[in-house]
């Protein structure tokens, strides 16, 4: 687990995603085969790492097993949502129980917002993730992307307003 932590002790999520995406995809395909479509499977993979990030303050001794446990629970959740009867018990029993909280309501809301941002421009994507994922300042973002600070602020404001509207809290 130490291997996947940054100097500030936060999770090195990018390294983890690179390392474990093939593993998680294989898991999902083995468990559900063609019972879920490609988009649903991709969603499970992304949600697995999102849930891992949300649970990063927990004590994790075996990262691979922990990720597998999360993926297993998300597979079951997706099958329930799609009302697909798919017996994964043989496969399931080989994976340890995961105590990770799944944040289902939050993920549903995020999913909805993600769809509304489907046409997000590359520049806007970079700005919002640099600000909210990498926690870079407006100044740093402006310098790195070679645009004005005002431009960064305006774009951030517009994205926030769009998301607020989806959240139903005005905008």
């Amino acid at each position: 687990m130490k291997f996947f932590k940054k100097r500030d002790e936060t999770l090195d999520l990018e390294s983890i995603i690179k390392e474990f995406t093939p593993y998680v995809k294989t898991m999902i395909n083995n468990a559900v085969a063609n019972n879920l479509n490609f988009e649903d499977k991709e969603e499970i993979v992304a949600d697995t790492f999102f849930v891992l990030w949300k649970n990063q303050t927990k004590e994790i001794t075996d990262l691979k097993a922990y990720i597998a446990g999360i993926a297993k629970n998300l597979i079951k959740e997706k099958l329930r949502k799609r009302k697909v009867t798919c017996d994964i018990s043989n496969y399931e029993n080989s994976i340890e129980f995961s105590n990770a909280k799944l944040f289902s309501d939050e993920r549903d809301e995020i999913d909805k917002i993600e769809k509304s941002l489907a046409n997000l421009k590359e520049l806007d994507f970079k700005i919002v993730t640099m600000f909210y994922y990498s926690f870079q300042s407006i100044k740093e973002i402006a310098k790195e992307l070679n645009i004005s600070e005002r431009n960064v602020k305006t774009r951030l404001f517009r994205i926030r307003q769009k998301i607020k509207k989806e959240l139903g809290v005005g905008g």
Binding site: V45, I110, Y132
Partner: protein, 337 residues
């Protein structure tokens, strides 16, 4: 391929952060535009005002020590949200976030802010709450009271659940005080905090002594909360009289049992009944509500407290009070005010 997945996950996380930020911002400016901002900063919402389900849940979660009736009251907008600044001393800021008050209960949610590192929780240690009549509402240091006047206004406290860590620097804790019904109405609460208990992530503890003094004004809607009164519908062989008072945050039923039955003897012989929450059960709207506590005196008068039913519940015209010792019920009917 993995690059696309990284982008997707980063976007999810960014949306989650914006969502969290919005929830915190909405909590601070939670108003009904029809009422406008009252001078006393009371945000009582009317039905029909649309707000994000998560905001309501967020406020409810801040009250980590609460009861079911209060949860329902908050869902219906019966909550006062404060806009005060933090009061700082010894690198810790404290403020009141939300408050629920009626004749039976006072529930106050506090927020703490500190730049101290690796803090797990912060909680009051030595503090006193008074009102503008110089009456003590609550004091952490026990004091013997010589007269009724000296008794604090609280008669119970629910402070069992742990404080909540919202972020690395912000913490919340709430305390639920049961109030004595004989208290007079008050408008202001004064908080005088002298020390705090701080627990760090490695479970070491520290006491911080300082001075944090602040006050809040209770809004009119809370001070003049509307109760519903109940009376016995018809005589019953087991009950001489029975009345009920339902407030937004709970209910009190007072009854006098027939002199042929001695409650004290009954409980001594059936001691397991002393802990039975269904000893005096309220039934209404197809549901049953067990008591939270009861007390009795030698004259067979019993006072029963319920914290799981309040004025924001449905179908309250008639309540059935089931008396387990007799396997019998009485009906309480709502009195027109």
């Amino acid at each position: 391929m993995e690059e696309e997945m990284i982008k997707k996950v980063k976007l999810k996380i960014a949306i989650a952060e914006i969502r969290r930020e919005e929830m915190i911002n909405q909590r601070k400016k939670f108003i009904n535009p029809k009422i406008g901002i009252a001078v006393c900063a009371c945000f009582v919402l009317m039905t029909g005002v649309v707000f994000a389900k998560d905001i309501e849940q967020y406020i409810k979660n801040i009250f980590n020590n609460t009861n079911e009736a209060i949860d329902m009251a908050i869902e219906n907008g019966y909550v006062q949200s404060e806009k005060m600044d933090y009061v700082y001393d010894k690198e810790v800021g404290i403020r009141v976030e939300n408050l629920v008050l009626d004749d039976f209960n006072l529930n106050v949610a506090f927020q703490f802010e500190t730049q101290k590192e690796k803090v797990k929780s912060i909680r009051f240690r030595d503090f006193i709450i008074t009102n503008e009549h110089q009456k003590v509402v609550y004091q952490s240091q026990f004091q013997y009271a010589q007269t009724l006047d000296e008794l604090p206004l609280y008669n119970s406290i629910n402070w069992m659940n742990e404080p909540i860590k919202l972020t690395d620097t912000i913490f919340t804790d709430s305390i639920l005080f049961g109030l004595r019904p004989e208290k007079e109405e008050f408008e202001k609460l004064y908080f005088d905090v002298k020390s705090l208990n701080v627990t760090y992530e490695d479970d070491t503890k520290d006491i911080i002594e300082g001075t944090w003094e602040f006050d809040i004004t209770i809004c009119e809607e809370m001070r003049k909360s509307v109760n519903i009164s109940y009376k016995l519908a018809e005589k019953n062989e087991y009950v001489e009289f029975c009345t009920g008072t339902l407030s937004p945050t709970g209910m009190v039923v007072e009854l006098k049992l027939a002199s042929s039955f001695n409650i004290r003897e009954y409980l001594e012989e059936n001691f397991e009944m002393s802990d039975d929450l269904n000893l005096f059960l309220i039934k209404c709207n197809g549901k049953e509500y067990g008591l939270s506590s009861f007390e009795y005196d030698p004259s067979n008068q019993i006072k029963i407290h319920y914290d799981n039913i309040g004025t924001f519940f449905d179908d309250l015209d008639k309540l059935e009070l089931y008396l387990k010792p007799f396997d019998s019920s009485v009906i309480l009917t709502k009195q027109e005010s």
